[in-house]
């Protein structure tokens, strides 16, 4: 390098500063940009619907959606719709996720269970669960049973796959350590395998619970008088875009809430991660 400098001097030029080329590719936390995008989009739609170049058939006025939402709140209907939906979501997702974690751990631990169930899970994973709704209605009744079943079934398969993947990924050297200290099988599962699989299980839950919210609308297709999904479906069949969007916004908020809850859980349970 010294040579280059000498040469530069000889050519009558000064030293050249090394060009920086290490920029980019490092995500930075710029939370406000997301907010700005939202605000700009909504403002654009508001302006477009008011000035008329977006027709009433294309999009509702954001201000009308807000008004619908406020009305929902004030009339108490919001909670009349939210309460059954949240119950369905919590019970269905709890059933599906706990069964999924249970079966997933068994698949991860026992070769026979793995050989027997992995093909089965692979076979039922791609089934659109909505297609099975009429069947669930026959099996579990048109009331809450079929709705719990649909949500549970929908969350079950991704949880199983995430869980046994997570169990497979538990550091084998930790298990060998447990064995070398003479820990019982049950202790190894409880103290090493399960905590070790927790990051994978939680990130699987993130996806499973989002699917549960998606399925909420499907679950409320059949025989639900109240519920956010039923509300959205009704708004859709009435071409009431304000109610439709108000319902969709509620689902989005629900999704954000669930994601935040899992984030909190991760912070509590996975603080040990590097």
């Amino acid at each position: 390098m010294a040579d280059t400098g000498a040469e530069n001097k000889r050519n009558g030029e000064g030293p050249i500063e090394v060009r920086f080329r290490g920029g980019g590719f490092a995500p930075k936390s710029l939370r406000w940009v997301g907010v700005v995008v939202f605000v700009v989009l909504i403002a654009l739609v508001q302006w477009g619907t008011e000035s008329g170049w977006i027709s009433a058939l294309t999009l509702p006025k954001p201000s009308d959606v807000l008004a619908t939402f406020v009305q929902l709140w004030e009339s108490g209907l919001l909670f009349k719709h939210l309460q059954p939906s949240l119950t369905r979501l919590v019970i269905g997702a709890a059933l599906g996720a706990s069964a999924g974690i249970g079966i997933g751990v068994l698949i991860g631990l026992f070769s026979y269970v793995r050989a027997g169930l992995v093909p089965l899970v692979a076979a039922i994973f791609p089934i659109p669960k909505i297609a099975l709704l009429p069947l669930f209605v026959i099996w579990f009744g048109i009331d809450e049973g079929s709705k719990y079943a649909l949500i549970a079934f929908g969350t079950f398969t991704p949880t199983v796959v995430a869980t046994y993947g997570a169990v497979d990924n538990v550091d084998r050297s930790l298990i060998r350590m447990g064995q070398s200290f003479g820990l019982s099988w049950f202790s190894i599962v409880r103290k090493i395998v399960l905590p070790g699989a927790m990051p994978g299980i939680l990130s699987g839950l993130r996806i499973s619970l989002a699917i549960a919210i998606i399925l909420l609308v499907a679950a409320e297709m059949l025989g639900a008088e109240y519920g956010i999904g039923a509300y959205i479906l009704e708004a859709g069949s009435l071409y009431d875009l304000e109610r439709l969007f108000a319902g969709v916004v509620i689902l989005s908020l629900l999704g954000v809430l669930v994601s935040a809850l899992i984030g909190l859980l991760e912070k509590r349970l996975l603080g040990w991660r590097v």
């Binding site: 058939l57 209605v137 499907a218 059949l222 025989g223 009704e234 069949s237 009435l238 071409y239």
Partner: protein, 348 residues
Amino acid sequence: MIEIKREDKQMKFNRRQTLGLMGAAAATTLAAPAIAQNKKIVVGALRFTSHSGSFIALERGYFNDAGLDVELKFFQAAQPMAVAIASGDVDYAVTAVSGGLISLADKGAIKVIGGALSEEKGIDGQKILASDAAFKAGLTSPSQLGGKTFGMSTAGSSFHYMGSKVAQAEGVEMSFKPLQKVGAIIGALKSGQIDAWSIVPHIAKPLAGSGAVHIIGDISDYLPGYQVTTVFTSAKNAADERDQTKDFLTGFGKGVSDYNSTMIDKAGGEDGVNEMVDLIHKYVYTDRPREKAAPSIINGTMRINEGSKLNIASLRDQLEWFQSEDLVGKDITLDTLVDGSYVETYEG
């Protein structure tokens, strides 16, 4: 909207082929209107016998005679068809009045321009059904509907309207179960998941025949003159394409006349019926052989309004009911929904 939006294969018949089928003589004897020759329009249809007016008008060249080159576009359900009209993909169609239709009219997208199917005393119309379980438990007449569950496709559908009006007349309260699709409602009724429902006779009768459900009443006893389905188009067509709209109604009206006279009044005797079944079978129950399709087609026969007459009183009642249930805006007027300038209207 969860409803299946798949559109059936488009069927297209151009003027030349249809003329070939019909014979040149017929085409020249029937006077063609002066205005637009061979104007391309799209007509939406469901594969139901109640849409036969369009099938006949197309097959027998009545649309051609009216100067229209019609392309039929098939849908699985009425709702996507209404959206297709609103978006301008379809020009004319026949469907039941629903909250969705009124809402689209309110948005300035569509107009009802005529009537199709209506309930009439003395003519077989829609039936009120009870599930076997509910029937055995004592639901033998509509007066016992109190506290029962009534099936419907969605809130604001014609089923919702019918059930609600029956309950109102009987002075009882029912709960309504949205089940999205007719198939799902039938399944729920057969398995006793819901107690009651109402549906057109050609679906009601075979169901009752199997013993899984029971007919406990007629809708016409509660809603005499109920305007079940209407002819509708986009607001733009109704306002700016008056000639084309008139031409469509002319062609469609001829198809309806043929249907009524052949299938109900038996003007052509058995041969006439058979010929008509052959024609309709090209569009309806196409997955079944002719001999199996024929009884269903004949059973499904219902009188369609001559000249697309429209029962304005029934429409008013329906609009008011939708408003009272807070399903559509309270400020919508009948004039927003209906353009009564095309056909004869009556208060039935």
